[in-house]
Amino acid sequence: MGLGGGVIMVPYMTIFLGMDIKDAVPVSMIAIVVGTLSASTPYLKKSMVDTELVVILSIFMVIGSVIGSLLNEVVSSAILQLIFSAVVLYAGTMMILKRGDGRAAIHRDHGKIYFYLAAIISLITGIFAALVGLGGGIFIIPILYLLFGISIDTARGTSSLTIGFAAAAAAIVYLFKGQLDPQAAAPVMLGVAAGGTAGGHLGTGARPVVVKIIFFIIMLYIAYKLGISGIKNL
C-alpha cells in the first residue's frame, strides 16, 4: 500500500499487545525502515516511483521527523492517538470521494510552487508521522494523490521509498536515546521484511479502485480504534 506499516503496527502493539504508544513508536519506526527496503523493489521495477520527488520530500520529512521525535517527549499518548485518529479519518474520506486518477509524476512545468509546496507539506508530514509513530505514508499518499494530482499507483510507490528515510532518521534518534528495544524490534523486522515484499508485489498488481477501498477500510478501522483508545486515556 506504500503506507510503511505503522498504520497497522502501532495500533496492533498498543491495542492488542498492551504496549504504551511511546514504546511502540520506536519499534514501529525501525520496522517501517525494513518495510520500505522490502516493498520498494516491486514499485521500482514497475516504474511506479518518482525518485526525484522522493529526494525532495525526504529532505524535509527527515527534518520534520526529528522535530516530531523531540516533541514525542512532551506530548501525551492520549493526544497523539486523538490527533492520529482525526487525520486518518479525514484523509480516508477524501481519498474515497475523489474520482479518477492522476499523472504518473510531477512534471517540470509545474515549477517552483510545487517544490515549495512539497517542501512545506513534507516538513509538516514528517512531524506528524514521527509523533504518531508512522512512516508518513498515511499522510503522503493522500497529499500526492489529492493535492498534487499524482496517480494513486505512483503516489504509493513514491511514498514507499520516501518514508524510509524519515523513519530511519527518527529511528536513529530513538536508538541513541535508548528508547528503541532491539530485542522487541527483531521479530517485528523479520515479519515486516517478508510481508513488505509480498505486499509490494501484490500492491503493484492491484487496481487503483481496489487500493482506494482497502485504504479507506484500513483508515476507518484505525481511526475508530485509536479514537476510542485516546478518549479512554484522557
Binding site: I30, V33, V34, T36, L37, S38, S40, T41, L44, K45, S47, M48, V49, D50, T51, E52, L53, V54, V55, I56, S58, I59, V62, I63, V66, S69, L70, E73, R103, A104, A105, I106, H107, R108, T154, G157, T158, G164, F165, A168, A169, A171, I172, V173, L175, F176, K177, L180, P182, Q183, A185, A186, P187, M189, L190, A193, A194, T197
Partner: protein, 97 residues
Amino acid sequence: MTPANSNSNNNLIKYHQLIWYLCMAYLAVTCLLLVTSPPLGSEMSFWGVVFVLAATLSQLFVMASDFRVSGKRKFTLLCYVLIAVIIFTTSLGTWLL
C-alpha cells in the same frame, strides 16, 4: 521533474534486492538465537538495527549514482544534501536531549 523513473534505477533495484536477502537471513538467525541463546540474540538484535539503518543511508549513495549516470546533477547533489540533513538532524536530535 521527469515522469516516474524512466528506469534509470537499475542499481537501486539490485541494491534493494541484495539488502532484502541479507536482512532476511540475518534477522532469521537473530530470532532463532533470541530463543536458543538470548544474550547472543540480544547482541545480534542491536547490530541488526544498526545494519538496517546503515543500509538505508547507503541507499542514497546508490540513488546518487543512478542520478549521475542519468545526467541529473541537481538530484545527485540533493542526495548528498539528504545524507547531510540526516546526519545533522539526528545529531541535533540526540544532542538536544
